[in-house]
Amino acid sequence: MRFRTIMMIAAASSALATPALAHRMWLLPSTTTLAGTSEYVTVDAAVSNDLFYPDHQPMDPAQVSVWAPDGTEAKIENPSKGKYRGTFDVAINKPGTWKIGMQRSSIGGTFKVGAEQWRVGGRGRPAGAPGAPGGAPGGAPGAGARPAGAPMGGPGGPGGPGGQPMRMVATVADIPADATDIKLSETLSTYAVYVSADAPTKLATTGKGLEFDPITHPDALVSDEEASFRFLIDGKPAAGVKVTLIPGGKKYREAEDAQELITGADGVLKIKWPVAGMYWMSASAEDAKPIDKRAATRRMTFTSTLEVVAP
């Protein structure tokens, strides 16, 4: 379950590690509980404001990994990317709890060259490349002398009227030697849904980053039973983790009905479910213990889709 490092080049990953505010990435499995080992789950994957209503961007199923209960990697089948929604199938052919999702790490931030602010990695929208229309304010470092790897005249750089998009380099390695005020942050993001064939099994943890270590198994949630979830950071119970819990189907009620919860000293939070159904849960924490020492801080998120059945 290694982390896969990707370059946060704009456009390439706008859907994944850095969803725009309010836009939520989600996976929606057709079920989380199966009898026997000859079944499939089919999963929807998208980015949208409302859960689980695909009306914005599809997620590319190629980003998704599958881990069988024994930790071996398995495959998705029948991937497809539609206008608003990606879909794929997974053969759940071994008993126990499967993990389907993504794990990513990236590093990004800002630095200055002279008086000008630069950015490392894209944040949703292509930033102006050196030499883009509008150019840099006078006196900025020579545009022609920018490090290799910067997206020269890249696809975007719309540089709209009045907009002076921040210049960017693609990776930390591209930060020029004369840079000052380097502020970098590591981002570790995990999205996982859990599907069990026959009896659920304990979720594996790696002791790295923010992890979900539930006391109540995520595939045994019932609307009239309180659930206990524990979160770990680097393998230890993590206090103060912020957790947002949102039931799907906002369009069929008046409000989003989100719950904002925080783990206690033992890393545990207790959840009461207002209704049965599918929930989107996202936990986040920040600390100053990045794995990549070039970064000063570490942001971690763990997101999941949970199925809560009626009693």
Binding site: A35, G36, S38, D198, V222
Partner: protein, 162 residues
């Protein structure tokens, strides 16, 4: 003499008092007739939960035992969603002495294990029907035998322990 006096008034209790623990208790499950265009016999499971906590114990499960192939009858056992969590998901089917074919509407009597330790229990019966509903009925009872009865509203009729 006391017994004579009590019997007519409290047949159930009196019967239980007279019965030695060796006389096995049983549960009678009623599957109601449901008038719908597309009727399938329900999957039904029954299990016993100790009130004080402890492992649930399945006493019967009725499902489509014969259906095999790409979609075997076991596929829909998880639709008995409470039973599935309370032990179904660890059982191998068919289960000797516990599993059987689905039943048509009517009343069926199943023995309650004679070796239950004395204490308070709840018998749960859950039914799930293809293209139909799902219902869970709970019947509290105790050992030494003191029976009870409860009734479902949709997918199950009267459930009586005696």
């Amino acid at each position: 003499m006391t017994r004579n006096l009590l019997l007519p008034a409290l047949p159930l209790l009196a019967g239980a008092v007279v019965a030695s623990p060796a006389l096995a208790a049983s549960v009678t499950i009623t599957i109601p007739q449901i008038k719908v265009a597309e009727y399938h016999k329900p999957y039904v499971a029954g299990w016993i939960e100790p009130v004080a906590g402890g492992a649930p114990r399945t006493i019967f499960v009725w499902y489509d035992v014969k259906k095999a192939g790409r979609e075997p009858g076991t596929k829909w056992l998880a639709d008995l969603r409470s039973w599935w969590r309370k032990g179904g998901n660890t059982m191998k089917m068919p289960a000797d002495g516990l599993s059987g074919a689905t039943r048509a509407p009517g009343s069926y009597t199943v023995p309650i294990p004679a070796n239950l330790p004395a204490g308070q229990y709840v018998l749960k019966v859950e039914a799930a029907r293809e293209t139909g509903g799902r219902e869970l009925v709970s019947v509290p009872f105790s050992v030494p035998a003191k029976g009870g009865s409860a009734s479902g509203k949709t997918e199950l009729g009267t459930i009586t322990i005696r």
